[in-house]
Structure formats: C-alpha cells, structure tokens
C-alpha cells in the first residue's frame, strides 16, 4: 500500500520533477482545498485562487483539445438537423465524427438526422495557396442540394483564418442565395484561446446572434424551461426527458443533447434556464437573461440526490403547489429503486477513493455519484474550466483578462424592446435565495470537496503517474486518452467523456446504471491477476523459484 502523505507532501511530490519555471506555474494550478474563510476583510467569501484557463506549456502533455473541438464537437455536434460543414483539411472533420457518443432520437423517419455524417471541404494544397472560399461555396451548394437542411453551419479549422478565408462573408452570400436556409459560420480555428473552452464561447455567441429568437415554437405546458449544457452522452438526455415529462415540466430546448434547430430558434419562449455544464454554456444563459429577462440557476442531474435537489429547485422557483407535489411524488416513486441499487453496490465500494480529471463540470458533478456510493473524491480538476468553476462565480470580476481571452469576442447584448420580460423581481430573488436557490449562481467545485483534497487544473501525464503511485485511488475518472496509461498500473479508469460505451448516468435510472458500472469496474476480477502469484506471496515465491 502506498504510504499516506499529507496534502502538502503530495503537492511537493507532484512538483518536484519540474524545472523552476514550470514548477512556479504548476504550483498555482495545484491547490490544497480550503473552505471559505468567513471572516475575510471585504465580506466576500475567499477560497484559494486556482490558476485556471492558463496556456498549456508547449511540450507538456495536456488533456486539452482546441477551440474547434469545443465549438463543433461539444456545443453544436449533438444537434441533429443543422448540417455541419467543417472547412479545412480532412483530419479535423474525421476526428470529430461521432466520437463523443452523443445520441439523438429523431421523432419520425422524415425528421432529418445529419449527426452520423462527416462533411468537410477537405482542403488540399491548392486551396491553401489560392484560398478555399470557392470550394466552400460549392460544398454548401452541394450539401443543400442533397440534404435540404433548414440550417447549415461552417466550422473554421486552423488554416482558414490564416489564408484569409472569410467564412462569415461566405455564409451571408450563400444565405442570400438560399433564403430558406439559415447559414452561419464559426471562427473557431484551433489556435484560438487556450483550450476547447474558447470554442464553447464562440459557439454560444453565434447561436445566440444567428439562431435564437428566430422561431416561435411554444411547446405545450405550464412550466417551460431550457436545459443548457446537457449533451446527451450515452443517452443522458433521454433519461432527463423522461423525468421532466413525469414531473410535468416542459423541456422547450436542450443545448444541445437530442436537440433540433427549431428548438434553438424558440428557446426564448421559456421562463427559466437550467444550467448543467456551467463552463460550456453560461454565456448563453447570461445573454438570454439580458435580452429576454429569462433567469437561470445551476442544476446537477448527475446523482440521484442531486437530481432530486435540482427538481425541487425548479418546483420552488415556480412556487406552485401542484408542481411541488408532483415533483415530490416523482422523487418518492424513483427513490426506492435507487436505495435498492445502493444496497447492492455500496457495500463493496464504501470507503474507497476516486480521483476525477475531466471536463469543465464533470469533475464536479460526478463527485455526487461517488458520494452516493460512499466513495470520496480525494483529488479532482478540470481540463479546460475557469476559476469560477472551481471557486464560484463571485470571483468573475477579479479574473484577469489576458491576451487569449481577449481574442474571444464578448458580444454586447441589450434588452429586447418587445420580448424582454422580467420573470423574477428582486424581492422574489431574495425570497428564493432564502430558500437556498441562488439565481445566476454557481459556487464551483471547491466548496463541495473536503478540506485537504487536492485540486489540480489541467492535469498532465507526469502528475497522473505520481497520483497513481502515491494515493492509488480505487478508480480514476477521465477520458480515453488517459484510460490505458492508468490501467497499465492496475487502476481502472472510467471514461467520463464518452462513458465507456455505456450510459445513461444522468437522472435516477442513470444513477443506478452508474452504481452498477463502478462496482463492476472496481471489483473486476482482472485486477486480482495484475500481480503474479510469486510477486504477492513470499512462500509461493520460494516454491516458484524451485519449480522454475
């Protein structure tokens, strides 16, 4: 067994291999968790500052992706009926072809689904030299002729901006040619920003300016909400749709799991936005509040308790007894199966530990599920989150704007003259806050983790190796890039991006799936074979030596 190190000793272990300059930077990204100091001078809660959303150091192996990945792969990828054309050499389109395992469920055979396709302008050398706009226009002509989409978007890859191709001008020109098709482009070249996070922001901006508000679909129901930052990995959205329907809450639009273009266009017809993945979509929530007066709060549907809590928040927000009762009835109906599943799996997992290094919200959200199994998350961090995702939104004003974040457009939003409507008065906000519902609030990951837990932003290979050696967690939550290196050391890795080809894990049924999954992985028989008999028992060792 690895010896028990204090958090400070562990931190020093992580840093000691670095040259001074790298160590100075990483030191600010490896933080020993400490809860709010209530006595701070300015009355604001303080946490230890995490250096997040900082540039990756060249040559230090990172888990991060690029702006294109965040824009195409994460935010827009899960929408089935916007035709996505990737403008660039072939790799970028190929690599983002269904790899995130987003699912979708067209309502009929006529309902288009372009998600299984991978469209690219497949730029060649001559396009780089002479420009690719002509090819892009022809590709759009062809795609529209073949597929007749309602909307078509263009994703810029690295060379596009550099050779001077103007995807926005092309989009405008082609839209004039095809007035029935909404055509828009994203300047999400891979070098923008410091990670995929830049791409989320770019996606939010364009969908907000070019899609939202164009439609007037109003799904029937008294309580209409949008779910922002839910991407339907492994069917999560299907489970949440089931739960919402049971509660009588209408999901107008999800950004963007199992979503359609029309839902996006009419997302302003709601009274509440629910934010799941704060990192990838908080921009949209803020902009919708400014323009339409739609308030938002943070929810988490990863974990049965968290799901129940989030549903109760929605009911309390509306304050309607009928809804409150119905939500309680649904929770009461769902919980026995949860308890039964826990009774099966918790005994073989309780007291074990997990570490989570994933995403911009998952490393926080999944702690709930592990907690329900009696497992503590002793170290966690995000790949591409910002300080607010760690420390809470109150730090936003103090986040320094650097060259990389400045390059991502902040669009100016004003209240819509006709459509702006205040949904909650300041008095009501105060009332809700008193009930524990903070509008526009997110406290981040750190307050919910134990003191002494190690927060590590943008974990790299070397640090993962030290963690395995020094704390040997029972399970490591990350992605496929990390999976096999972790498992080489005899520790199972649960893929929390693509769910290891299973799921759903959201909502109530998802929680049950997750309990069973973690039990299955942590207690798999193969881990017992990692050490040969002669390695683990001295007596056997001797006898094998003689036999050998």
């Amino acid at each position: 067994m690895p010896s028990k190190l204090t958090p400070e000793e562990l931190k020093q272990e992580l840093l000691k291999a670095y040259p001074a300059k790298v160590a100075r930077k990483r030191e600010k990204q490896i933080i020993i968790n400490k809860h709010k100091d209530e006595t701070s001078a300015n009355g604001l809660p303080t946490t230890t500052e995490v250096l997040a959303n900082a540039r990756t150091i060249p040559g230090i192996l990172s888990m991060r992706g690029c702006a294109y990945a965040g824009c195409k792969g994460v935010v827009l990828g899960p929408t089935r009926d916007i035709l996505h054309i990737v403008h660039g050499p072939i790799g970028c389109s190929y690599y983002a072809w269904l790899t995130r395992r987003n699912q979708t469920r067209p309502v009929s055979d006529e309902d288009p689904n372009f998600m299984t396709y991978c469209f690219s302008t497949d730029m060649q050398e001559e396009d780089i030299i002479y420009g690719g706009e002509k090819k892009l226009k022809k590709a759009i002509d062809e795609a529209i002729a073949i597929f007749k989409p309602k909307a078509l978007d263009i994703f810029s890859t690295c060379p596009v901006g550099l050779i001077g191709d103007d995807v926005h001008a092309v989009a405008r020109e082609m839209e004039a040619k095809y007035p029935d098709v909404n055509i828009f482009g994203f300047s999400c070249e891979g070098y923008k920003g410091v990670s995929q996070s830049a791409g989320h922001h770019i996606a939010n901006n364009k969908v907000f300016t070019d899609v939202l508000g164009l439609g007037d679909l109003k799904k029937p129901g008294k309580y209409r909400v949008n779910l922002l930052g839910e991407y339907n990995i492994g069917g999560d959205a299907f489970e949440l749709e089931r739960v919402f329907e049971k509660c009588g809450i209408t999901l107008q639009a999800t950004f963007s799991g199992n979503s359609t273009y029309e839902e996006f266009t009419s997302a302003h017809n709601v009274d509440l936005n629910l934010v799941m993945c704060h990192r990838s979509i908080n921009y949209m929530a803020d902009m919708m509040e400014t323009k339409y007066g739609i308030p938002w709060f943070k929810v988490n549907f990863i974990g049965a308790e968290a799901s129940a809590k989030s549903l109760r928040k929605i009911a309390q927000y509306y304050g309607d007894q009928e809804l409150i009762d119905r939500v309680e009835a649904v929770i009461a109906e769902e919980m026995p199966a949860i308890e039964a599943a826990k009774a099966i799996h918790r005994p073989s997992l309780e007291g074990k530990t997990a570490v989570l290094f994933v995403g911009g919200s998952r490393a926080h959200h999944y702690q709930e599920l592990f907690h329900e199994l009696g497992m503590e998350t002793i170290s966690a961090g995000y790949e591409f989150a910002h300080r607010d995702d760690y420390e809470g939104r109150h730090v936003i004003p103090s986040i320094k704007v650097d060259a990389d974040s400045r390059n991502i457009e902040e669009i100016e939003v004003h209240p819509d003259a006709e459509l702006y409507k205040e949904r909650v008065t300041p008095e009501r906000k105060a009332e809700l806050l008193a009930m524990g519902i903070e509008m526009n609030g997110y406290e981040g990951m750190m307050p919910e983790m134990k003191e002494g837990a190690l927060i590590i932003d943008d974990l790299n290979h070397h640090e993962a190796e030290v963690l395995i050696e020094k704390v040997k967690p029972a399970i490591f939550g990350a992605g496929v890039k990390e999976k096999y290196v972790i498992q080489k050391s005899g520790v199972p890795l649960k893929q929390l991006h693509s769910y290891d080809y299973s799921g759903p894990y959201a909502g109530f049924k998802g929680a049950i799936n997750f309990y069973a999954e973690i039990d299955r992985l942590v207690n798999a028989s193969c881990w017992g074979l990692v050490k040969a008999p002669w390695q683990s028992s001295p007596e056997l060792s001797a006898s094998y030596a003689y036999v050998g």
């Binding site: 790298v22 540039r55 990756t56 150091i57 060249p58 040559g59 192996l61 990172s62 888990m63 991060r64 992706g65 690029c66 294109y68 990945a69 054309i85 660039g88 050499p89 072939i90 790799g91 970028c92 190929y94 690599y95 072809w97 269904l98 790899t99 067209p106 055979d109 309902d111 689904n113 998600m115 299984t116 991978c118 302008t121 060649q124 050398e125 396009d127 780089i128 022809k138 062809e142 795609a143 073949i146 890859t157 690295c158 060379p159 550099l162 050779i163 070249e189 891979g190 070098y191 920003g193 990670s195 995929q196 060259a403 190796e465 395995i468 496929v480 890039k481 999976k483 080489k488 050391s489």
Partner: protein, 462 residues
C-alpha cells in the same frame, strides 16, 4: 446513435463534388505519430494546435487500447501570427527534460505549414537548454492538406532513415531491412520471429509491436519499452537489401528507395505477405537470401491454409466484395480475395493516390474483364453508392465502413485502421500463411453469421 431516419432516405450525389462526405482517410500527422511509436525511446511532438495531438491520440489510443503520448507545441493566436519558433524550442526542451527520449520526431500540421515555419532551420540552429541532452531531433513535413495518414506514415519512416542511417563501410550478408508499412503489432511480432527463424539479422522499421501492444507495468514507463533501436536504424546502410511491403507507395516517400539511391542498399518491393501467393514469394525471398530450406512448420501451415481454402470455397467462391482503405492494403487484400475466388468488384483507396488504377492494372491486368472498378480519393459516400450500384456480398476494410455496410445490408469484415467498434485490433493478424488463415476464417465466419442472422428459423448447422 440513431440511423433510423437516414436508413430510409436515399441521397444521391453528383460526381466530382467538392464536399467530402464521410471521409475514408485520416490526416498525415497521424501517420507520423504511428511511425515514430515504432522507434525505441522516441516521442512525437506535433508542431501546431494542441487539438491535433489530442484528436490524434484519441484516435490511435481507441484503436490500439494502449497509452500513446503525442506532445504539442500548443499554438495560440499569437504563435499563429508571429511564428512557432519559440513554442517549438520550448516544447523540445520540455519533452527532452520530461521523457529523456533518445529521439524526438517533430511532425508539422496544416497550421505550421500554412504559416511557413521552417522547422528544419529551427532544429539546425537549436541549442538545447539542457547541455546534457543527447537525443536526436528530426522533422517530417506532414501538412494535413496533403495526402493521407498513410503518406504521413511513409514520410516519417523515410525521415528516420534519411536523418539517421549512416554510410556503411561494408555490407553484411544475412542482414536485412524490412519496411512493413502500417502493419498490426501482432503482424510485426510474427514478422520478427520468422526473420529470426530464418537466421536473418533484420531491422524492421517501424516496430511498434511492444509499444502498442504491451503488458501491464510493474513501474511507470514514461516511454513504453520496445521499438527499433537508433543503432539499428543507423546501421541500415550495411544491409544486403531492403524488403519493402507496398504496391502503391510513392517512390519519393519510400525509405527503401532512399537507401538504394544514397546508401547502395538494394530495394526489393513486394506486396505484404498476405495470401498464399504473396506469402510464397516472401518466403522464397527469405530462402534465397539465406539458403535455408523451407521449414517444415511453414510447409504445414501452408498445407493447412490451402486445405481451409478448399473447405471454405463453397462459402466464398464467386462472391463479390468491396475493398476500401489505404491504397496498399486495398491492393494487398484485392489479390488475396482473387486468390480465394472472391471478385473485388470495388477497390477504393481513401487517399488521393497517384495512378492507383495503373497500380491495380499492373497487379490484375484483366481487371476490366473481372468487372473490377478502381477508385482513388474516395469517401464513404462514393464507396456506398458504387457498392450499391455494383452489388456485393460483403465489404472489407476499417470500421468506418460500418454505416455504409449497415445501410446496404451487407456484412463487414474488419481489417486495417481504424477499428473502433471491435476488440483486439492490435492483435489482428494478416501476414504469412498463419495470418491469412486467421483472416480467411474470420471472413468465412462473417459470411456464415450474416446468412444465419438472415433467417428467423434459428439454423445452427451452416
């Protein structure tokens, strides 16, 4: 994934269109990353956005199910404007310090190529921050807008040879270079064993048989052990000859051509030893080089394979297949299929391959009479439409053909890269009588399984 809605809609596409729909190739830096994995102590650094390294790692890792490190020079907007020199230098120093590698392979991307970074000049003038650094640094130009992953692979192998192989003072008999192309780790292991059994001192380049299909670790391995040693690459000039597997290989990207022209090592070009005829030729060459008798074990393997062909002919003879993927693999598979009596009615190379039709015509002079159609630069939409028009009994190629095969209602035999929907891709065997046997069994069983599924009656005697 829901294929329901698309399965009923038949889209038609104009020939000569610009939009690539479901590509059948990956980008060239990926091939370079794979090739460098086959060199002992090597680390690849991609000169460009970090997304390239992340995507490429994800793709390779999902196929091999092994750890694969690819570093990046992590361009920002500033780097894209002012050039990548400082990022490259910082990246090299960091990789050098973290991994203590023997070799760093720098592969470019579309980004660094577009801005015109002169990587070779940066490397030439570079003074390592760590004075004790001993590693060799070399570069390969792999802009993603040129060719495919296969081209990136060959170019990287060639760059290893051009940068490392020294002029030789003497030539050693029974010393041999082998350039196997994009083979599976299991095929590489087989190849090395056979060469050893024949008493040859062979350098197989690249050799990722251990690095991409290794055991668990008792302690952390920063760079997994295995791979062709730098020493062996340096000495490749002293070999009697180079055996290079390939049919459609561009001579400008060929390591063996370079060795022949610059180090006087004779190049023997041959298709990969898949199928009886190709394996016979391969073993014949080994015999000629060594004077060894044809080993009895191989004789027996060959006998079993032909016996299997006889036993299985009723399932395969006269069937029609669509073959797709990397040009060399397509050509190799087409010859194998013809050998077992299957007509490869569609042979589609995913990459833009020069004169692929001529290559195929050279291998199968009567391909028109056999009804074989040849395509290059084909995407899966082209392949699906051609396959639907021609009519086939099965498709054979990488797992990305699944969607087309599903829509067409034909079975798919999975071969090549990537295989992301089946287990054990690293252990797929194709080479030699034994590898051919595995493929033949797999192929027959795929057809049997398809026929069995097609009936609701539950036949268990096929």
């Amino acid at each position: 994934m829901n294929l329901k809605s698309t399965s009923k809609t038949k889209f038609t596409t104009e020939p000569g269109r610009e939009v690539t729909q479901d590509a059948c190739r990956l980008c060239s830096p990926l091939g370079a990353c794979l090739a460098f994995k086959g060199v002992e102590g090597a680390v690849t650094i991609l000169h460009g956005s970090q997304g390239c390294a992340t995507y490429i790692r994800r793709y390779l890792i999902s196929h091999f199910r092994e750890p694969i490190d690819v570093a990046s020079t992590s361009f920002t907007e500033e780097t894209a404007v002012f050039g990548g020199k400082s990022n490259l230098l910082a990246g090299l120093d960091n990789v050098s310090r973290q991994y203590s590698p023997q070799l760093i392979g720098v592969a470019t991307t579309c980004l660094s190529e577009t801005i015109g970074d002169d990587v070779a000049a940066v490397l030439r003038d570079r003074v390592p921050a760590n004075p004790e650094e001993t590693c060799k640094v070399l570069n390969v130009s792999t802009p993603s807008y040129c060719g495919s992953h296969a081209d990136g692979f060959y170019r990287a192998v060639r760059s290893l040879v051009t940068s490392l192989t020294e002029p030789a003072h003497e030539t050693f008999n029974r010393r041999l270079n082998v350039f196997p192309g994009m083979a599976s780790p299991a095929d590489l292991r087989w190849l090395k064993r056979v060469l050893k059994d024949f008493g040859l001192e062979a350098t197989v380049l690249p050799d990722y048989s251990d690095t991409l299909d290794g055991g668990l670790w008792s302690s952390y391995e920063r760079i997994p052990s295995g791979g062709t040693t730098l020493e062996a690459i340096r000495a490749m000039g002293s070999s009697e000859c180079s055996l290079e597997f390939g049919h459609a290989l561009n001579p400008l990207d060929s390591a063996a051509v370079w060795l022949e022209e610059n180090r006087g090592v004779k190049r023997l070009l041959t298709g990969a030893p898949l199928g009886v005829a190709a394996s016979d030729l391969f073993f014949h060459r080994l015999q000629a080089l060594t004077g060894c008798d044809f080993p009895a074990e191989l004789q027996a393997e060959r006998g079993r394979l032909i016996d299997a062909y006889a036993d299985g002919h009723k399932y395969v003879s006269g069937k029609r297949a669509a073959v797709y993927g990397e040009a060399d693999l397509v050509a190799t598979l087409a010859l194998f299929l013809l050998e077992i009596g299957v007509i490869p009615v569609l042979c589609a190379a995913g990459g833009p391959v020069n004169a692929f039709r001529d290559v195929m015509k050279g291998l199968v002079p009567d391909l028109e009479e056999r009804g074989m159609e040849i395509m290059s630069d084909a995407d899966f939409d082209h392949i699906e439409q051609a396959t639907a028009r021609i009519g086939v009994d099965f498709m054979i190629g990488n797992s990305k053909g699944y969607k087309a095969a599903k829509r067409l209602g034909v079975p798919l035999v999975r071969v090549g890269f990537p295989i992301h929907d089946r287990f054990g891709a690293a252990r797929n065997r194709l080479m030699g009588y034994e590898g051919t046997q595995r493929l033949f069994d797999d192929l027959v069983n795929t057809l049997l399984s398809h026929n069995q599924e097609a009936s609701g009656l539950g036949y268990s005697y096929m």
